[in-house]
């Protein structure tokens, strides 16, 4: 099949076939003539006029891992203005686009430089046969983030770079002294900076005691996987996944997401963690899936294979097998569930929990949500141990003339909640309804599902539901008249905060819903609790239909937001901040205490002691609470929070066109000493006190003795 390549050259065009690319010139009489045929995949650039009547263009093709760059004149094929062959240092895929530019050398001849865009969305500048600079612009289109721990420090093998000899150390020291005395030249300053960066704590490649140093594995739209170090953002390794590159089998492969696959805890010294990248062969929902396992320490692809079914959903299960691989369930477009890893041990672990695993699907275009259970085998001709059929358990149909699903959100599966009881004023207790099987759904009337202002307040309404996904029970429903989307929501612990537009008040609003378990509220007998005769710790099932109450409150908010997330910590003790990505591409951290449905205009004394803020109609935006300070995360699209090992800190990663990473302490660092704590003073004080005790003891004994002798 032949394809004409798009070109802006006058009188010359290229036709690409599966084997070669042919260049055909068009003469003024309309005659076509084949000028040249190149056997490799070729790309042509724009036309650049280098003098009044001459035009040049660049021709780039690949051959054995090198890039061949030719600059020719448009009307004269056989004159080569430039012919270069450039070696690439890493696998970047094929060239996608070429742009050329020229400069005039000292001897009045033309020199050319070319900017090429590669398949992995990186930019390279080629000049005089070398790559002058390269930019990993694939990082501007991140579609999935996973985290991985760094290696544990092994005894005897020090990963940090040690000064090898005294001379180097002396030189380094002299440079530092020169720098502090302001005698350093510009190169010296750069050398000092380089030395400081190399030996700095935060960019070491081993695990941190506080859990601040991690690897962020990001998957970009071009199918390239990067590992970013959280200390200084350097790219530790990058891998262009061959399974996601265009081949004959897969015309248009796309990556879906990256998941943690093997997270070794007990075998942390022997095994490397790995991640799983799920992709699909095309853009339709029934395209076959692609799996790829990558080792996170070395960045090498361990295994990759194509699946024989499509991928509609990927559900990570809370089960692990003996090699500490996380079990995943893939639902295909026909509703069959497939278990990975395909191992008999995984199947036996899964069979034990089969009856307690459910999955739900949200079909926004049809306006229905269905919940399914799992059957023990597939309905198919081929007997497959790892395939499980599904049966429908419940379904909720939304009336399509008045409600259209626009947003769903659920709790993060790895979120840790510290306690199930919330202590309120007067030492009273409210029990939180903490269930991971809840789904928050926001629907708007179909007329108002477009941009803001496409419907009048009278005909638009926003209805939110909280649905239990195991039984299909609607726990709570609330209607906002005269409001519409877009709805951004976050669900954490027992509360949901969502943001929408109020057409009647012409302002954005944020509402909080908190869910409390009413069925446990009878546990008020102190004696029974002391003796342990309560059922608060026994496992709970959604089929017991516990009675729930909800409290909600709405506030005005001035900004439009792009993304919203909540901080997460290792044990869930630290209070939570909501991270709001505003339309101005900045991230604002708001304390959860602003979103407390128990806020009232005149709080009582005990409520004030509890820390409830008085109710105001709008949320205050404190300029100091912008996490991004004066920077902007251009084109902000998502915010991801990762818990650190130290309880008071959490790591925040924001991506869009720019990347931003920071470490937050929502309740300030209450569990570690300040950096300038003077241990010396403490030691001196202790020693002085011990000496003083001893001296005064001896004196008092002497005095007693002399008294007795009187």
């Amino acid at each position: 099949m032949a394809v004409i390549l798009p070109s802006k050259l006058t009188g010359l065009f290229a036709v690409k076939t599966s084997t070669a690319t042919a260049f055909i010139s068009v003469s003024s009489e309309g005659k076509l003539e084949v000028v040249d045929k190149i056997m490799h995949p070729t790309f042509i650039s724009n036309a650049l006029s280098i003098s009044e009547d001459q035009q040049a263009f660049a021709l780039v093709w690949h051959g054995d891992n090198d890039i061949h760059l030719n600059v020719k004149q448009v009307h004269d094929w056989n004159s080569d203005l430039l012919k270069e062959r450039i070696k690439l240092d890493q696998q970047r895929g094929l060239v996608h686009k070429v742009f050329i530019n020229n400069y005039v050398r000292t001897d009045k001849s033309h020199g050319f430089r070319a900017l090429i865009v590669m398949e992995d969305h990186s930019l390279l500048l080629l000049q005089q046969g070398k790559v002058v600079w390269s930019r990993e612009d694939g990082l501007a289109s991140i579609i999935g983030v996973a985290t991985s721990e760094l290696p544990v420090e092994k005894e005897g093998v020090s990963v940090a770079k040690v000064e090898l000899n005294l001379f180097e150390w002396l030189k380094g020291h002299m440079l530092k002294v020169k720098g502090s005395l302001m005698l350093a030249s510009a190169e010296d300053v750069a050398a000092i900076q380089g030395m400081r960066l190399k030996s700095s704590e935060k960019s070491k490649m081993i695990r941190d005691h506080n859990g601040f140093r991690k690897l962020l594995i990001v998957l970009t739209k071009s199918g390239k996987l990067f590992a970013l170090h959280t200390g200084d953002g350097q790219i530790v390794w990058s891998l262009l996944l061959n399974s996601l590159r265009q081949t004959e089998a897969c015309e248009n492969p796309t990556g879906i997401n990256v998941f943690q696959w093997q997270v070794p805890h007990h075998h942390a010294m022997d095994e490397n963690p790995s991640v799983l990248v799920v992709g699909r062969c095309g853009t339709g929902t029934d395209a076959l899936g692609i799996f790829s396992y990558i080792d996170t320490y070395t960045g090498k692809e361990l295994k990759s294979f194509g699946l024989d079914h499509s991928v509609a959903q990927v559900i990570p299960l809370p089960l692990t097998d003996s090699t500490e691989q996380l079990l995943h369930l893939l639902i295909d477009a026909n509703g069959q569930a497939h278990l990975y890893p395909r191992a008999p041990e995984a199947v036996s672990i899964f069979q034990r929990e089969l009856s307690n695993i459910y999955w739900y699907s949200v079909e926004a275009d049809k306006g229905l949500i269905k919940g399914h259970g799992l059957k023990s085998n597939c309905a198919g001709e081929v007997a497959d141990n790892y395939c499980f059929g599904t049966r429908e358990v419940w379904s909720i149909v939304f009336p399509s003339e008045s409600e259209k699903i626009i947003s769903t959100v659920t709790r993060k599966s790895n979120e840790v909640v510290h306690t199930q009881a919330k202590v309120i004023a007067d030492q009273d207790v409210m029990y939180k309804y903490i269930s991971k099987n809840l789904l928050f759904v926001a629907t708007v009337s179909p007329k108002a599902s477009g941009d803001i202002g496409s419907a009048t307040p009278g005909e638009s309404q926003l209805v939110v539901y909280v649905i239990d996904t195991v039984t299909g029970r609607i726990l709570h429903r609330m209607t906002h008249h005269g409001s519409q989307g877009p709805v951004h929501a976050v669900f954490s612990e027992n509360w949901i905060v969502y943001h929408y537009f109020n057409l009647r008040a012409h302002r954005y609003e944020m509402t909080v819903i908190e869910i409390y378990d009413q069925s446990r509220a009878d546990n008020k007998d102190v004696l029974k609790l002391v003796l342990g005769k309560h059922n608060l710790s026994s496992p709970v099932s959604s089929y017991s239909r516990p009675e729930v109450t909800t409290k909600s409150q709405s506030y005005y908010f001035t900004h439009s937001i792009k993304a919203i997330a909540v901080t997460s910590t290792a044990k869930g003790i630290t209070s939570r901040h909501l991270l709001i990505g505003t339309i101005g591409d900045q991230v604002l951290a708001m304390d959860k205490r602003f979103f407390d449905p128990r806020r009232s205009v005149n709080p009582t004394q005990s409520e004030k002691e509890e820390g409830i803020l008085p109710l105001t109609d709008s949320l205050p935006i404190i300029p100091q609470s912008y996490v991004t300070h004066s920077l902007k995360v251009e084109g902000l699209r998502g915010i991801v929070t990762v818990p650190a090992k130290l309880e008071s800190n959490t790591l925040v990663f924001t991506y869009g066109v720019d990347l931003f990473f920071t470490r937050l302490a929502p309740s300030r660092t209450y569990d570690s000493l300040t950096e300038d704590f003077s241990y010396a003073l403490l030691l001196i004080t202790i020693v002085a006190l011990v000496v003083a005790i001893f001296v005064t003891w001896v004196l008092s004994e002497k005095k007693d003795l002399s008294d007795k002798w009187r």
Binding site: I256, N257, T285, V311, A312, Q313, V314, I315, P316, L317, P318, L329, I331, A333, E353, N356, I357, Y358, W359, Y360, S361, V362, E363, A364, G371, T408, T410, S413, V417, H418, T419, Q420, A421, V423, Q427, D428, V429, K432, I434, S435, K436, N437, T469, V470, N523, K524, D525, V526, L529, V530, L536, S537, S538, P539, V540, S541, S542, Y543
Partner: protein
């Protein structure tokens, strides 16, 4: 006039005879005045000492009762000081409460020493000791009640429940919108 008669010519002008008649009954020649009964000198020492012991015992028992009732005043004073300390948890209120708790405990430990000077075979020390112990226990109860009003005792539901971890859920469900 013959006794005190001055004898002329000798050095001694006056001489008075100081014979004691009270102790020697044999040389009694002056009759006793009416209504006077000589105390029987033949009574033995045990009787005297018995009297003395009785007096001592009475005095001791009286003193023991006084000591037994001393904590009551202490109680009132500590009660007043705790009321002054207020309901909030501050250094002063904690200090007063703990001293109110420590004093009865210290006194209870030294019950024997307190009653030692009054130890006597005739005096029943059990009753005063019991009263002493009871009053000190009352002081201790007052301290504990003050501790409770400060909120430091786990008597509320929230003290036992607020550290319970979330209950495990039997079912697990996942899914969402189909991936695009």
């Amino acid at each position: 006039m013959d006794k005190g008669k001055a004898v002329m010519g000798s050095g001694r002008r006056w001489a008075v005879d100081f014979t004691d008649n009270s102790t020697t009954p044999s040389s009694r020649d002056i009759p006793d005045p009416p209504g006077f009964y000589r105390a029987s000198q033949e009574q033995d020492d045990s009787a005297v000492t018995k009297q003395k012991k009785d007096a001592e015992a009475n005095w001791k028992s009286q003193k023991a009762w006084e000591v037994a009732q001393a904590p009551f005043k202490n109680l009132l004073m500590m009660g007043f000081m705790m009321w002054m300390a207020g309901n909030t948890v501050h250094l002063f209120s904690i200090g007063i409460t703990f001293s109110a708790l420590w004093q009865p405990i210290g006194a209870l430990q030294g019950v024997g020493k307190v009653f030692e000077p009054y130890k006597d075979s005739k005096v029943d020390l059990l009753a005063p000791k019991l009263v002493f112990i009871a009053l000190n226990l009352g002081g201790l109860a007052l301290g504990i009640w003050k501790l409770n009003t400060l909120g430091l005792l786990p008597t509320h539901v929230s003290d036992w429940v607020s550290s319970l971890p979330p209950a495990k859920e039997v079912e697990y469900s996942g899914g969402g919108m189909p991936l695009r």
